[in-house]
Symmetry: C2
Subunit: 195 residues, 2 copies
């Protein structure tokens, strides 16, 4: 049995997140993951005894945490600044991959769960989306927006950014993300001014 190496394990998770955001869940296998990460298949099963489902769930959680921690930091300057950082994250992913990668959390949510077990993957994705919404809504509330409106605006931000990344991939253009960015800034301004 290979010895535990946290770095190797983390690299496998990051590689899985990258594969998910490019190919989707069905086209991601533990075998391909091992090949992609240049890791022995045996060590991959050693790190993830739960197999593909465990890898996928940890990859979704990893991607979710990365975005949430960046968002939490940038939101300290205000909701509009947080939005800009959120948009920037996705712009970088889409442009660096030449429109071939999007969001791993969306990837696992857009495919029918193949079994009852797979429902737990959806729960991980749902919790990630909710955490991003919670951070955005809390920042709006701090700036005087009533909680219900703040929650609606936060959902609009997460939903439209996720959707626009898909539009960018289809159109092979960053324009959809830029266009919704301008509208979302106006929505945030409006919500704060009405507060």
């Amino acid at each position: 049995m290979p010895r535990t190496n946290p770095e190797a394990r983390d690299r496998l998770i990051a590689t899985a997140a990258d594969m998910l955001q490019r190919r989707g869940m069905n086209a991601t296998s533990v075998r391909d993951l091992a090949k992609e990460a240049k890791a022995p298949l045996g060590s991959t099963y050693h790190y993830f005894p739960g197999g593909k489902q465990q890898v996928v769930e940890e990859a979704v959680q990893y991607a979710g945490n990365l975005v949430a921690s960046r968002l939490a930091i940038e939101l300290r300057a205000g909701p509009a600044e947080g939005l800009r950082a959120f948009l920037d994250l996705w712009r970088t992913t889409v442009l660096r991959s030449e429109f071939r990668a999007g969001c791993p959390v969306l990837a696992v949510s857009a495919e029918e769960p193949a079994s009852e077990d797979a429902m737990s993957t959806l729960s991980v994705a749902a919790a990630v989306f909710s955490e991003w919404e919670r951070l955005l809504a809390a920042s709006l509330v701090e700036h005087g927006v009533p909680p219900e409106t703040a929650h609606e605006v936060a959902t609009l931000i997460v939903a439209s950014v996720e959707g626009s990344v898909v539009l960018c991939r289809a159109k092979r253009s960053i324009e959809p993300l830029d266009r919704i960015g301008r509208q979302l800034e106006a929505v945030i301004r409006g919500a704060i001014n009405q507060a």
Copy 2:
């Protein structure tokens, strides 16, 4: 060679669209399509000599046209009415499938094209998104909204509806769609009032 039967062909396309919106592109095969539509595999290849790629592209176009024609009719009453009909379409898809189905156009756009040929599938998806945006923007312009703002609002509507359908599937709740609906109505009202 089986004789051409337009109804059988249409049923195959509708079934393919349903499979795409549930399982995604990678998990959809011509063999499964034949089984799902209770059609002989030979007749499936007869109708679609281009194989999976042809089926997928026709299914995306079919779904795109269904939505576009409904949207065009409902937008005659105004942008807010068009939005409501657009939201209703997706609400019905998500609820009827018990959160297992979403949008076939998103499904093909969120998976990396496996070959240069597959780029043409992305182009079909891009054209469908653009047509929905064009219809919404034209209706806003008719109601006095400047073209650039109208286009931004239209992209926000399409992106956020697509994204919220994915959020609904992850959370197994229709709330994200209802929440963005309320915000989008306010955005439309604001754009028209400022005009």
